[in-house]
């Protein structure tokens, strides 16, 4: 017998193990490969040759090992299988195993039906995700672990994919939540992802093994798993060999493989050549000269400087407190730069700004006088109140101001920052349409940074490498998770760092042009393009952009500071009177303390952050409404959402039933049909029990039964509603399957979407507590009234309900539904009249009936009212306008309402429409383009807000304020 060898090539590391004839592990190693897979493996093999020499039966395993195995001809063992082999050998009594790797997460269920699961192609919650988050926090993974162990609380963070989590983490950083708590929340998110995304309805219990690098090295992650799964110390096993476990399994899986001499193995690996499978593009620059020419052209648009050390006179301050970076700019009245600063905010934007302002005062002494200041960006509110700045402006306005300075004819601006992409078209000197990246396609600047770091290279050097890459890899243009695996594949195929760097630059550009802007050709962008944002300072990205658009664009030398520059310009143009900005003396005395708390304003119990300034002022963030900030709430009388919520719950009269209790889960179709079914059940003698109010906690309650984690959030919330009803003593839960919704006679068919129509099937199949008796889900078509009576009778006859009663019950139900609809339509009329009288803008917050749920809409309606707007819903006004004929097949009841609502907005001057779209809603890929086209045909702005489990009102607020600013501009133009 010979020695057995296993080589595990993961997405970030290489592990090698050797097992001797007595099945003893005699060697193991674990090294990072920094994308140099072949070299690293060879290195390890050579070490092994030095140490032992000899013959081996060898197998390769791991996600990046597949290609290596195919091309070297060495045996391959699938990695989960490898783990499985090792588990059976060393831990025969284990019930389940959880393995987290660089980019994979796996669960193996051993007892009670063997099952092996891997994360789907869209799932974060892995080592790479943790790395990404650490980069975001600007700490090492080890530090993050240490911080997390000291946490006091955790915040909810979307765990499904890295991009989403980032959107959750960023506001926490900006709000000053402690690093300890954020770190712990990130680990908790990984655990939640594993439990919901992978286990999918199957509970992880018994003796559980934890494998893979992250679970071996990160104590806080271990702790989070053990606590969440409720494991005893004996049942949570962390093997000594966890990081190398797969390679040990692969070694064991080599039994029966022909043994070879180590020299032969080495030469097989050495012979592996790059394959021609990866697709490559053109080089960015063919020569140094070409690059020099390019640099020279862009230098021309740099601003001039003035020396703060000897300048005397007025100046204007602009601050852009962005998501990952903080930018400051101090300019003279003739737009020379006195002082500028750009730095990563390290999660503490306020500290950075205060210290830089102190520096300004120190440098400028009494010679300079700040005549006005303005703040923009994510941190606008906080910084404005801390600095007592004169103005706070929306980012989009700031960027536009700045771009105008460089090209008064500008008709298109694209800004790619660390976290977001913003594009706006300019028409007639005003912002005409705004496009921001949705949470899913944010392949932005910080993405390159994370990658560079993962490869162990500084970002500047990384992008420089890309400039002369000969064969930039084609990486696709979609979300970062996908790009991660595309990079993985390219690495597997042997692409070098330079090719990957250039490929990433081009991906970011394509992502922006084709996905965010949704241009079908580069010509749509415009003639006078200004590009800006820190990411464009990367020449590789800039070059990719010019190549893709075929246009020469303007990139100001201060591309990364445009927000701050625009703010300074704004301050200069708009100041009247004395500036309130903190002066040198006040600044010296400035101090602050932050603490987190739960708002007690209402039952939402938002996590809020209170920052107390030294002079006794307070700043509150994280609140969804004014109450959190200790202000009176904006009146809800102009908000149809609040009205609808109240009317909907009133449709349950609360009659005690002689026949028992019917549980109705208030989600998906029930948000539309609650009055109908409440009326029906109360009429036939059942008391109606409603499920708990939606909340993040309710979602977690049902998370373990979610079968498809890419379904929309409303659907996934449904699982929690079911659990809540099961716990609340309903005799049965009722949720009908309806292929067809009620025909409102304004579309060619009246379908429900597949998820709304058949979700009960999924609920029942994946929740072991549900059965035929306690979960009633008849297939109904409510348009066929007598048929529906018949079908309902066959279901409820066993409760002694007679057919006549069923018919009467349905009648009562339809009466209540109609009364409810009439009621909200009347209310809409009233709001419209009042808004017209008070000269208020009206926003139709258009989506689906279930977007009424405040856990789903995240209180956007309240945000709108706090901005002084009246709010309507699509179902309250759609039939106040004509029917419409659209380009797409108009065959869903809810969507038909959307098109008509858009028509309504188009025909009323003070009405605008904002479309709410649930992430993962495939049908809205169709509706949103059509709604946009209706609005734009009528000269209206289209705004779309994608919503999911993330609660990031900051971004939403920027969008809405940009919309308002644009509406204002439009009005001015008309006048």
């Amino acid at each position: 017998m010979t020695n057995l060898m296993g080589i595990d090539v993961g997405s970030t590391t290489v592990k090698v193990s050797v097992i001797d004839e007595n099945r003893k592990i005699i060697y193991k190693s674990y090294v990072r490969h920094f994308a140099r897979v072949k070299e690293t493996v060879l290195n390890e093999l050579k070490n092994l040759r030095k140490k032992f020499g000899g013959d081996y039966s060898v197998s390769i395993t791991g996600s990046a090992g597949l290609g290596l195995s195919q091309r070297s001809g060495l045996n391959f063992v699938q990695e989960v299988q490898a783990a499985f082999i090792a588990i059976r050998k060393y831990y025969p009594d284990a019930d389940a195993a959880v393995e987290l790797g660089g980019e994979d997460a796996k669960i193996i269920f051993i007892t009670g039906g063997t099952e092996q699961r891997m994360n789907g192609s869209c799932a974060g919650g892995t080592g790479a995700f943790i790395d990404q988050m650490a980069t975001l926090l600007n700490i090492s993974v080890t530090e993050m672990d240490e911080y997390a162990l000291k946490s006091r609380k955790t915040y909810p963070i979307a765990s499904r994919c890295g991009v989403f989590a980032k959107s959750d983490v960023q506001p926490l950083i900006n709000q000053g939540a402690s690093k300890e708590d954020i770190a712990a929340s990130i680990f908790q998110a990984v655990v939640d992802q594993t439990v919901s995304g992978l286990a999918q309805g199957r509970r992880i219990k018994g003796k559980v093994l934890f494998l893979g690098g992250p679970l071996h090295f990160l104590k806080a992650l271990r702790k989070a798993f053990v606590t969440t799964l409720n494991l005893t110390e004996d049942n949570a096993v962390f093997p000594e060999d966890a990081p190398c476990f797969m390679s040990i399994g692969a070694a064991l899986g080599s039994v029966g493989v022909n043994s070879e001499n180590i020299d032969e193995i080495i030469s097989k690996v050495e012979s592996v050549r790059e394959s021609d499978e990866i697709i490559t593009g053109e080089p960015l620059f063919l020569s140094k000269e070409e690059y020099t020419e390019f640099v020279k052209r862009h230098r021309a648009t740099d601003l001039k400087f003035a020396e703060i050390e000897n300048y005397t006179g007025d100046c204007y301050l602009g601050v852009d407190s962005g998501s990952t970076t903080t930018k400051l700019m101090l300019i003279t009245p003739d737009c020379r730069i006195l002082y500028s600063h750009y730095q990563s905010n390290n999660g503490q934007p306020l500290d950075v700004i205060i210290s830089k302002l102190k520096e300004i005062y120190a440098l400028g002494g009494n010679r300079i006088k700040i005549r006005a200041s303005a703040v923009t960006g994510y941190g606008e509110d906080l910084i404005k109140s801390a600095l007592k700045a004169d103005f706070g402006i929306v980012e989009t306005v700031a960027h536009f101001k700045a771009a105008l300075h460089f090209n008064p004819k500008v008709d298109f601006i694209i800004d790619i920052g660390g976290q977001d992409i913003k594009c706006f078209k300019i028409k007639n000197g005003a912002i005409d349409s705004i496009m921001l990246n949705e949470a899913c396609s944010s392949g932005c600047g910080s993405f390159i940074q994370t990658f560079a770091r993962a490869m162990g290279i500084e970002i500047d050097k990384f992008s420089q490498e890309g400039l002369y890459a000969k064969h930039p890899v084609e990486l696709g243009s979609r979300c970062t998770v996908f790009m991660n695996s595309a990079v993985k594949q390219a690495q597997k195929e042997g692409a070098g760092v330079d090719d990957i760097s250039a490929g990433l630059s081009s991906s970011i550009v394509k992502n922006a042009i084709y996905k965010v802007i949704r241009a079908s050709s580069a010509d749509e962008l415009g003639e006078n393009i200004v590009v800006q944002g820190g990411t464009f300072l990367n020449d590789a990205v800039l070059r990719s952009f010019e190549k893709e658009t075929g246009k020469q664009v303007i990139r100001p030398g201060i591309a990364g500071l445009m927000g701050a520059f625009g703010a300074a310009l704004y301050a200069m143009e708009n100041i009247s009177g004395e500036s309130t900005t903190l002066g040198p003396e006040e600044l010296e005395k400035f101090n602050y303390a932050s603490k987190s708390a739960n708002c007690r304003g209402c039952t939402s119990n938002c996590n809020i952050n209170i920052i107390s300034f030294g002079d006794g002022r307070k700043y509150v963030s994280g609140n969804k409404c004014e109450r959190g900030a200790g202000l009176p709430a904006a009146s809800s009388e102009m908000d149809i959402f609040t009205y609808k919520q109240a009317r909907l719950s009133e449709s349950v009269k609360g009659v005690k039933g002689k026949r028992g209790k019917a549980g109705l889960p208030l989600q998906l179709i029930m948000y539309e049909q609650l009055p109908l079914w409440a009326g029906f059940f109360e009429s036939i003698g059942f008391e109606v029990v409603l499920s708990e109010k939606s909340s993040r906690n309710l979602y977690f309650k049902g998370q373990h039964t979610v079968a498809s984690d890419t379904a929309c959030y409303p659907a996934k919330l449904m699982h929690g509603h079911i659990e809540s009803l099961l716990d609340n003593g309903a005799d049965f839960i009722f949720l009908p399957c309806e292929s067809y919704n009620i025909d409102e006679h304004c579309s060619s068919n009246h379908y429900n979407c597949p998820v709304v129509a058949y979700y009960p099937e999924l609920l029942k199949a994946n929740n072991e507590r549900l059965n035929d008796d306690n979960f009633i889900m008849p297939y109904l078509d409510l348009n066929m009234r007598s048929n529906a009576v018949k079908r309902l009778y066959s279901v409820f006859a066993k409760y002694g309900v007679r057919k006549r009663e069923i018919a009467k019950g349905l009648e009562e139900g339809f009466a209540r539904l109609e009364a409810y609809h009439t009621d909200i339509k009347n209310k809409a009329e009233e709001i419209l009249k009042k808004a017209a009288a008070e000269n208020k803008q009206v926003i139709i917050l258009a989506g689906r009936p279930y977007h009424l749920d405040s856990e789903i809409n995240h209180g956007i309606n309240k945000l709108l009212t706090s901005l002084g707007l009246a709010v309507l819903s699509e179902d309250s006004i759609f039939d106040k306008t004509e029917k419409v004929k659209v380009n797409v097949l108009n065959q869903w009841t809810y969507h038909a309402r959307l098109y008509r609502a858009a028509d309504f907005a188009s025909k009323h001057e003070n009405v605008n429409l904002v479309q709410l779209v649930s992430f993962g809603c495939g049908l809205d890929a169709i509706t949103s383009d059509e709604v946009r086209s209706i609005l734009e045909k009528n000269g209206k702005l289209y705004t779309q807000i994608k919503i999911d489990e993330i609660n990031n009102l900051g971004v939403v607020k920027i969008r809405l304020r940009s919309l308002l600013a644009a509406i204002e501009e439009t009005k001015k133009r008309i006048i």
């Binding site: 999918q200 243009s477 949704r518 079908s520």
Partner: protein, 419 residues
């Protein structure tokens, strides 16, 4: 009083019958052999049809550029294939039309047509998009299929199915390399000749010939893992969308088992019958659907009998059995997309010795949340030996990711077979 309607539709070029003699019609590929037969068949009817075979990376890139980010992958592939073809310069753009099928179902697929129209219009304003449907959609620009042509198409599908079914059971085992392919080429000529010279309706004779001809191919008799492929119809069949899944499985030493297209046709007809019976829909036409179902189902049963009689191959599935399978897992009312057919096919596979299954679906496919991933738990309870993997397909999902998941499923399968 006539109702007022605001018309937001953009003008688009429409198909009219006279174009039959002037226009070339391009059709996206899905099942190469089926579509080849259909192409030839329609040519004989006087239509200048061409099934597209372009499959370069540019197809996907054009798709990405021309349809919404969140639109499902099949639509992206189809649009990409069209645009790539139209841009190739091979076609006279004043005399080219595009054809696409519409089922009129409740999932997004019925909206591919307007999306194709929107995408094509930008660069090719004179290219009409024609709908092929049996639900009365798109009356202004649709392809008229009479009863006779409908039957011919049904025969073409049956022959394509029989060929595919036999080929997949022959190719992995062929003793002489290429012999399965030459049998297929021979059969193709035979079938086309039947359409040309008459006798195409003698489906029993033709299917018997196909089965026997494939049975003549010498097979090694080795034991291989059978892998069933179910899922969204386009991704399941189209090699463009599923990265040549069948070929990959064969290269891994497996036998791919791909359900017939006829199953899907019958599934759609059954849904009309079901809705007639469940909700009282189609009051007047219900009996016609029943009749059509009975005729088509009888054909399927007869072909199945041919397989049983000949004995060389595992027989095809049969609709009544599939419906019984479905009833154990999901209500037949779940009809959108591939609906109850997916779990039914999985169950039917499990019962016929094919417990290893790939459920192929576009990333984010709405019906598949429920009828695909959502039913796996129930299926596992009923068939504890089943070994199912759901694989998402997407323009940016990498092959390595998909293959790795499939390999995991195969490793489990090998483990069970002790191969």
């Amino acid at each position: 009083m006539e109702e007022k309607i605001t018309d937001y539709t953009n003008d688009y070029p429409k198909w009219d019958k006279s174009m039959k003699s002037t226009h070339k019609i391009l059709v996206p590929n899905m099942l190469p052999w089926h579509f080849l037969i259909i192409q030839e068949l329609l040519k004989m009817e006087g239509y200048d049809i061409e099934v597209l075979t372009n499959d370069s990376r540019n197809v996907i890139d054009e798709g990405l550029k021309h349809v919404h980010n969140d639109t499902c992958y099949p639509c992206l592939c189809v649009v990409g294939q069209y645009i790539d073809a139209l841009k190739s310069g091979k076609y006279d753009l004043e005399h080219t039309a595009l054809m696409i099928t519409q089922t009129g179902g409740g999932c997004r697929a019925s909206n591919y047509l307007p999306l194709v129209r929107k995408a094509v219009k930008i660069d090719f304003p004179n290219v009409p998009v024609v709908s092929l449907n049996f639900s009365g959609l798109e009356k202004e620009s649709s392809f008229n299929v009479g009863a006779k042509l409908f039957l011919k198409l049904a025969f073409a599908i049956i022959y394509g199915d029989t060929m595919m079914w036999c080929y997949n059971q022959t190719k992995p085992y062929e003793a002489e390399k290429g012999s399965a392919d030459s049998a297929r080429d021979e059969i193709l000529d035979y079938v086309l000749a039947k359409f040309k010279k008459g006798g195409y309706a003698k489906y029993k004779k033709i299917c018997r010939y196909i089965i026997e001809r494939f049975a003549q191919v010498k097979r090694t008799g080795e034991k291989k893992i059978k892998v069933g492929i179910v899922g969204e119809i386009y991704v399941k069949y189209s090699y463009l969308a599923n990265n040549n899944l069948e070929k990959f499985l064969i290269s891994e030493g497996c036998e791919p088992v791909v359900p017939t297209l006829f199953d899907f046709i019958l599934f759609m007809v059954v849904n009309y019958v079901n809705e007639h019976e469940m909700y009282g829909h189609h009051k007047k036409s219900g009996f016609i659907y029943k009749l059509v179902y009975r005729i088509l189902h009888k054909m399927q049963r007869n072909v199945k009998k041919l397989f049983e009689k000949q004995g060389a191959f595992m027989p095809i599935h049969e609709m009544e059995h599939l419906r019984k399978c479905a009833d154990r897992i999901i209500n037949q009312g779940a009809k959108m997309g591939e609906g109850w057919l997916i779990p039914a096919e999985i169950a039917s596979f499990c019962e016929t010795g094919v417990p290893n299954i790939i459920c192929a679906q576009p990333f984010g496919c709405l019906p598949n949340h429920i009828v695909g991933k959502g039913t796996i738990r129930t299926l596992k309870n009923i068939y504890p030996d089943s070994n199912i993997v759901a694989v998402d397909y997407d323009p940016s999902a990498t092959k390595v990711n998909q293959e790795n998941r499939i390999k995991l499923m195969l490793a489990t399968a090998r483990d069970k077979l002790n191969l």
